[in-house]
C-alpha cells in the first residue's frame, strides 16, 4: 500500500493510475456496447438480456462500485496532473508555437474528458434513472413517447431517447468524443504502463485506432437505428411488452396502458 501511495505521489504514478482506471472503462465500454448491440435483435432479445443482467444484482452493484472508484481515480488524477502541468509553463510562447507530432485526439483529452463526465451524468439520468422522459417528450419522433420512461422496457426507453433529436445529437456527440478519447487514451495508457517498445509501438497505435473505430461504429449503430425506427413510425404496441402481439414478456408493466 505504501509503495502504491509513494508511486502515486509522482506524476508518473498518477499517470499509471489513470491508465489502469482508464483500462477499467475500456473494458466496460466494450462490454456495454456488446450488450446494447442486442438492440438490433429486437425488443424481446434486448429486454430479456437487460432483465437477466438485472437479476445479477450483486454483480451489477459490484460493477457500479468499481466503475465509480475508477471514475474518481481517473478524474482526480487528471485534474491534479493538469494543474501540475499548467504550472510548468506559466509564461507561454509569445511568438508562434507549431506542433510537429501531436494530433487532435491528444490535444482534446481534457476537454473530451469533461464532456464525457457530463455525458455519464446525462446517460445515467436518461436510461438508468429514467428522469428525462418529460424532456424527451418535447420533440420526439417516436410514436410511443407519450408513455414516457417505463422501467424494464429497455427497448422502448431507448427509442424514447433516440427518437428525440436533441437526445440523439447528445449521444452522437458523446460517442464521437469517446472514440477520440480512446484513440489517444488506449495508446497513451500502454505507453504509460511501459509496455510500448519499438516493435509494438505501431501495433499498439493500430490497436488503439481499432478500438476507437469499433466503439464509434458500434455505439453509433443503435442511436441512429433507433432514430430511424422512430422516424419510420414504429408502433409502440409492437415495442412495449404486453401491448404488442409480436413481443411478449411475462413481466408486468407499471405505467398507463394505451388501451
Amino acid at each position: 500500500m505504501n509503495a502504491v501511495l509513494t508511486l502515486y505521489r509522482t506524476t508518473i504514478g498518477k499517470k499509471v493510475a489513470m491508465a489502469i482506471s482508464g483500462a477499467v472503462y475500456v473494458g466496460w465500454v466494450l462490454f456495454h456496447m456488446l450488450g446494447n448491440l442486442n438492440f438490433h435483435l429486437g425488443p424481446q432479445v434486448l429486454n430479456d438480456y437487460a432483465h437477466k443482467l438485472q437479476d445479477l444484482a450483486p454483480v451489477v452493484w459490484g460493477g457500479r462500485a468499481l466503475l465509480l472508484a475508477a471514475l474518481v481515480v481517473h478524474v482526480y488524477s487528471a485534474f491534479s496532473l493538469i494543474a501540475h502541468n499548467q504550472k510548468a509553463r506559466r509564461t507561454g510562447y509569445q511568438g508562434p508555437m507549431r506542433s510537429q507530432q501531436t494530433n487532435a485526439a491528444a490535444k482534446s483529452m481534457r476537454y473530451g474528458g469533461v464532456a464525457l463526465l457530463l455525458f455519464i451524468l446525462w446517460h445515467i439520468a436518461d436510461l438508468t434513472l429514467g428522469v428525462l422522459g418529460p424532456l424527451h417528450g418535447l420533440v420526439n419522433f417516436y410514436e410511443g413517447a407519450e408513455h414516457g420512461f417505463i422501467r424494464g422496457e429497455v427497448y422502448h426507453d431507448m427509442l424514447l431517447s433516440f427518437g428525440s433529436p436533441i437526445s440523439l445529437a447528445i449521444y452522437v456527440g458523446a460517442v464521437a468524443a469517446l472514440s477520440l478519447h480512446l484513440f489517444h487514451g488506449v495508446w497513451s495508457a500502454v505507453q504509460t504502463l511501459g509496455f510500448d517498445q519499438a516493435s509494438t509501438a505501431t501495433l499498439w497505435r493500430s490497436i488503439a485506432a481499432f478500438i476507437a473505430g469499433l466503439v464509434l461504429v458500434g455505439n453509433l449503430s443503435f442511436p441512429l437505428a433507433g432514430f430511424a425506427y422512430a422516424l419510420s413510425g414504429v408502433q409502440s404496441q409492437d415495442v412495449i411488452t404486453g401491448h404488442g402481439v409480436k413481443y411478449y414478456n411475462a413481466r408486468p408493466i407499471a405505467p398507463s396502458s394505451p388501451s
Partner: protein, 253 residues
C-alpha cells in the same frame, strides 16, 4: 538574400521582454548562429546591447545552443541543433521569429539564454553509477549484448539541450529524464542503483517544476539526437517496478 530576425529581447531575469526586428543581409551558407553574430557585430558597432545566446561547439554536440525558431525548437531541420541550421533552409525575405525556451524550470536569464540548471539537478539526483575506483577494468570482462549496448548508447546521446522541454505542451522533461535514466538502467553497471535512480530522477523532475508527459510525442519529433518516445515507456516501467517490486531498503526517500 535578406531576412528579418524577430528576436526576443529581455534585459534580465524576471523582467519583461519583447520582440525586436533585425533585418540582415545573409548568404545561404551562413549558419543560424553566424547570423546572430553578424547582427551582434552591427549592434556593438552602434553601441547597442548585443543579443545574448548560448553556444559552444557549434557542431551539434554540446547542447548549449537552442531557441524556438518560427515555433519549432531548434528551427527547421530534422534531428538538428540550432547551430546546425543554415540560411539555405530559409527563403529570401523571410521573417524569422526567435524566442527562448519557455518553462518555469527554465527561467530566462537574458534574451535567448535560459537557466537549465534544473536539468543538471535531475542528473545529480541519480544520473550516475557507483563503481570501485582504481585501474580501468578489462574491457571484455563484462559482456553486454550488442542490441542493448546500442540502445543504451543511443540514450546516452542526449546532449541536454532542453528542446524536448521547450517543445512539450506541458513543459515536461520526461524525454531528457528517460534518456538519462535508461542509458544507465539498461546496462549491468547501472543495476545497483536502478531502483533508487528511477525514483530519484522522477521525483526531482517533478520537484523542479517540469510538467508530466501526456504522450503528445512533440519531444521525440524535435530531439536533435533522435531519442525515441519509447525511452519514456522504459522510465515509466522502471519507476513502477522500483516502487511496486523494488526493495524498500534501497529506497532513498
Amino acid at each position: 538574400m535578406k531576412v528579418t530576425l524577430r528576436v526576443w529581447r529581455q534585459a534580465g531575469a524576471g523582467g519583461s521582454g519583447s520582440f525586436k526586428d533585425y533585418p540582415v543581409e545573409v548568404v545561404p551558407e551562413m549558419s543560424f548562429l553566424e547570423v546572430l553574430d553578424v547582427i551582434n557585430d552591427e549592434l556593438v558597432a552602434k553601441a547597442e546591447e548585443p543579443i545574448a545566446f548560448e553556444h559552444d561547439c557549434r557542431e551539434g554536440i554540446c547542447g548549449s545552443c537552442g531557441a524556438m525558431v518560427n515555433g519549432r525548437a531548434h528551427g527547421p531541420g530534422d534531428q538538428s541543433t540550432l547551430c546546425q541550421v543554415h540560411m539555405r533552409q530559409f527563403s529570401d525575405g523571410d521573417l524569422i521569429v526567435v524566442e527562448p525556451w519557455r518553462a518555469e524550470a527554465f527561467p530566462v536569464i537574458k534574451d535567448l539564454v535560459v537557466d537549465r540548471a534544473s536539468l543538471d539537478r535531475i542528473i545529480q539526483a541519480g544520473g550516475y553509477i557507483s563503481v570501485r575506483t582504481g585501474s580501468a577494468p578489462d574491457a571484455n570482462a563484462l559482456p553486454i549484448g550488442k542490441p542493448l549496448a546500442d540502445l543504451a548508447f543511443d540514450y546516452a546521446a542526449c546532449i541536454g539541450c532542453g528542446a524536448c522541454v521547450a517543445a512539450c505542451p506541458n513543459a515536461s522533461a520526461s524525454l531528457f529524464t528517460a534518456a538519462k535514466a535508461s542509458q544507465l538502467n539498461l546496462l549491468p553497471q547501472g543495476q545497483v542503483e536502478r531502483t533508487s535512480r528511477a525514483i530519484a530522477l522522477v521525483e526531482t523532475m517533478d520537484a523542479e517544476g517540469f510538467g508530466s508527459c501526456t504522450n503528445h510525442g512533440e519531444c521525440a519529433a524535435i530531439c536533435p539526437k533522435g531519442i525515441p518516445l519509447k525511452a519514456i515507456a522504459q522510465l515509466n516501467r522502471d519507476l513502477v517496478r522500483a516502487r511496486v517490486v523494488g526493495s524498500p531498503s534501497k529506497d532513498p526517500s
